[in-house]
């Protein structure tokens, strides 16, 4: 196990005066994740210019490193060996490390040196050359490939020590959670909304998830599925919540009162309005949905713009220009795909009209809302919600009031 991790930060170069706050937010998140894995010790995290350096007595597990790679705002995670600032120690350390790692498959390498502290008396280029030369001698199977090496040997000379690493995990990147606002993300069991959530995590949004639970038209297994999905999404958040809002009664009431072809879009309207009510309660600034333009009837240009009129908060649609296959690929990457594919009861299929409206009439919907005011029903549904707290590792726990 590695005792040092170098956590490189994304987009920091874009920041100006808010840089300090940005750094602090990310550091807190990194700290929470490390603390969740290394429960037995106090891990030290140092700020080091463009990066954070974490140091553990017991070491960092593979799981911990993978969790850190999910933290938005982190660009890469490098597990590293730390040695004293002595040139003579560098080569033996690399040789020993490579002996354990080089299988028959690895034949090309590159050495990259960086002097973060320029007082080190040897230049980076010289060091690179020298180390490369000795490694070629030591390992007859190896050749240098500066463009596409199979193994990259990274040497970082710091103020107090030297870091050597051969692995660099690409992380989520983007902005630290909470650095760009708080949103309500509408989650369903499909592919789209979890990916939409991930996109907004990547852009630094703190999220409250809302799921409209159409019990008794759907069963417990759907709720379990949503919890599993949110458990994955929670790993890209710095602690978040899921609101399971009982919605069966509202859907049934709407279905009976409205034109059949308007059922789906009206369900959606009241979901968006309920999400707005929640946004007020938790002081969130926007609503996030998994809409992709033209994907289904409720996601036509006209229907989306009608929906915007009923939402007090801005509706963010990070997938609006995505093709389905692109969404599915992303869901595979973030780990929600295998949960989303599990078949589940869908209340909408029971209620779904034969010909759902694709160009909804705003006036009809407005008049409908004036005739049937469901605000109390929506508030009641929110009051009766089951709320789950989800920690940085994705563990869900119901909040009991």
């Amino acid at each position: 196990m590695y005792k040092h991790l170098i956590v490189n930060i994304d987009e920091l170069w874009l920041k100006g005066k808010n840089r300090k706050h940005y750094f602090k937010t990310l550091r807190e998140h990194v700290h929470l994740v490390i603390k969740a894995h290394n429960t037995e010790e106090k891990v030290r995290i140092k700020n080091d210019q463009q990066r954070l350096v974490a140091e553990s007595e017991t070491g960092f597990s593979k799981d911990c490193i993978n969790s850190l790679a999910k933290v938005p705002g982190v660009s890469t995670v490098q597990p590293a060996i730390s040695i004293e600032r002595e040139k003579g120690l560098i080569l033996p350390t690399i040789v020993e490390k490579l002996k354990g790692e080089l299988g028959e498959k690895i034949t090309t390498f590159k050495v990259r040196c960086k002097r973060v502290d320029k007082t080190f008396p040897y230049g980076s280029m010289d060091l690179q050359r020298e180390l490369g030369h000795f490694l070629l001698k030591e390992f007859s199977q190896l050749k240098v490939d500066v463009r596409n090496p199979e193994i990259m040997i990274d040497v970082k000379v710091m103020q107090d020590n030297i870091f050597i690493s051969t692995e660099k995990l690409k992380a989520t990147g983007g902005l630290p959670v909470s650095s760009s606002g708080h949103v309500i993300t509408m989650i369903s069991g499909g592919f789209d909304s979890p990916v939409a959530s991930y996109m907004m995590s990547k852009r630094g949004c703190k999220q409250d998830f809302i799921f409209f639970y159409a019990y008794p038209y759907v069963g417990e297994e759907v709720k379990e599925k949503i919890l599993s999905i949110c458990s994955v999404l929670g790993q890209f958040q710095k602690g978040c919540r899921l609101w399971v809002v009982p919605f069966g009664e509202i859907q049934n009431t709407i279905a009976k009162d409205c034109y059949e072809e308007y059922r789906t879009i009206l369900f959606r309207k009241y979901m968006v309005e309920t999400a707005n009510l929640l946004a007020r309660r938790v002081k969130a600034q926007a609503i996030v949905t998994g809409d992709a333009l033209g994907q289904v009837s409720s996601q036509t240009m006209q229907n989306m713009s009608v929906m915007d009129k009923f939402s007090e908060k801005m509706i963010l649609r990070p997938l609006v220009g995505f093709n389905k296959i692109e969404i599915i690929r992303l869901s595979q990457k973030i780990g929600t795909h295998d949960i989303s594919v599990i078949p589940h009861d869908d209340a909408c299929s029971l209620f779904s009209p034969k010909h759902p409206v694709i160009k909804a009439d705003y006036v009809y919907m407005r008049n409908y809302s004036m005739e049937f005011d469901y605000t109390k029903l929506m508030e009641k549904a929110l009051d009766e919600s089951e709320v789950y707290r989800i920690d940085v590792l994705g563990e869900c726990e119901e909040v009991i009031n």
Binding site: G219, D345, L350
Partner: protein, 374 residues
């Protein structure tokens, strides 16, 4: 609360519960122990064994071993016969997985027992399918999903007249305390379970006809005549025995009473014109189980609407309810696959009252009307 899922499990009978609690307190000694505490405990178990054999109208010479569940009993009987790969095993795909799955695990030749519409056995085809290599027939006495009640004695007699060496293993879980059981002849092994008749979970028994030899599946201390090693669970056995005794009182009267209730529900649901249909006739089934087809509404949805009214039913057998859409049992009973998810099962106890049934009929009618209006 109206509980109409007795085929899945039952509330524990008061006297069986009391016996269980007292026995937990008193019969703590190991029944295999050499001291008098252990011996006293074993004596109670032996008495329970005889009472149970008598309840099954079996001979004292026959054997009955207590074990943890019907699944264990079926596995022991089916795998314990040690059949060869040329032996033929006849079984019904309409039956519970605790019989069909152990059968499928055998290397023998598997032959399906043909079923006709309504879940009844195509007797001529079945008898015609037997030959000299037929060594085992596995069948339930009462089917857990459709409620189909099979005349196992007549079937076994006819089969054995043709090929006397055939072993008849019957799963009697849904028959015990519901319909008459007579194991004096023709049946070679028979499974019963505690929690379906008002005993706690974790206890079942396997009747084994004298002369039948089974291969040991659980090796150890040699309990239960060497056939099933595991410390003998006196409290559960005594409680099970009590539930059987209580359950057998007024069997015929209860049967008639429940039959009336079953018939009443069928009639009222038919008269309400909701589009409910009954694929299994009352004459061919145990009155304690009634499965019907909802009018193109997923039974899960109706189940949850009913539970909101504190009425508990089953959308299909609890063991297979996770696999949605397709039900191997209904498939074997010739129910079109597109309709499997519309099957709702209600199952009664002798305590189910006319009031319960009236409430159930009223509520399910309202629910279906409400959903149909959509």
């Amino acid at each position: 609360m109206i509980y109409l899922d007795h085929a899945a499990s039952t509330p524990v009978v008061e006297s069986a519960l009391n016996i269980y609690i007292n026995s937990l307190r008193e019969d703590f000694a190991n029944p295999s122990a050499a001291h008098k505490l252990g011996k006293a405990s074993m004596k109670k178990v032996e008495r329970a064994r005889l009472v149970t054999l008598k309840a099954l109208k079996a001979s004292k010479k026959d054997n009955l071993i207590f074990l943890s569940s019907a699944t264990e009993a079926n596995n022991l009987a089916i795998k314990g016969l040690d059949l060869s790969d040329t032996d033929r095993v006849h079984y019904s795909l309409g039956d519970h997985p605790s019989t069909t799955e152990p059968v499928k695990s055998l290397n023998s030749q598997l032959v399906e027992i043909p079923l006709l519409d309504g879940g009844i056995i195509d007797e001529d085809s079945f008898l015609g399918s037997l030959d000299k290599d037929s060594k085992l027939v596995v069948l339930s006495h009462v089917n857990n999903q459709s409620g189909n009640r099979y005349d196992i004695l007549s079937l076994a007699k006819k089969a054995k007249d043709l090929f006397p060496g055939i072993h008849f293993h019957i799963d009697g879980v849904q028959a015990l305390t519901k319909v008459d059981i007579n194991l004096s002849d023709y049946i070679d092994s028979y499974t019963i379970s505690g929690h379906k008749i008002g005993a706690p979970k974790g206890i079942g028994a396997l009747f084994i006809k004298s002369g039948v030899e089974l291969q040991i599946q659980l090796h150890g201390g040699g309990h239960e005549f060497g056939l099933r090693s595991s410390t003998v669970n006196t409290p559960l056995i005594l409680s099970f025995c009590e539930a059987i005794t209580v359950g057998l009182q007024d069997l015929d009267t209860n049967f008639s009473k429940v039959k009336k209730i079953n018939s009443l529900i069928r009639e009222e649901l038919k008269n309400s014109n909701l589009g409910i249909t009954f694929p299994f006739s009352l004459e061919d089934t145990s009155p304690y189980i009634l499965s019907f087809l909802l009018p193109e509404i997923s039974s899960d949805i109706v189940l949850r609407h009913l539970e909101m009214k504190n009425i508990f039913v089953a959308s299909s057998s609890a063991c297979s309810s996770k696999a949605k859409g397709f039900n191997a049992g209904f498939n074997a009973m010739k129910i079109d696959q597109s309709k499997h998810k519309f099957v709702l099962r209600i199952s009664f106890s002798k305590e189910t009252s006319a009031d319960d049934v009236a409430t159930f009929v009223k509520e399910i009618s309202n629910i279906i009307k409400d959903i149909k209006r959509l």
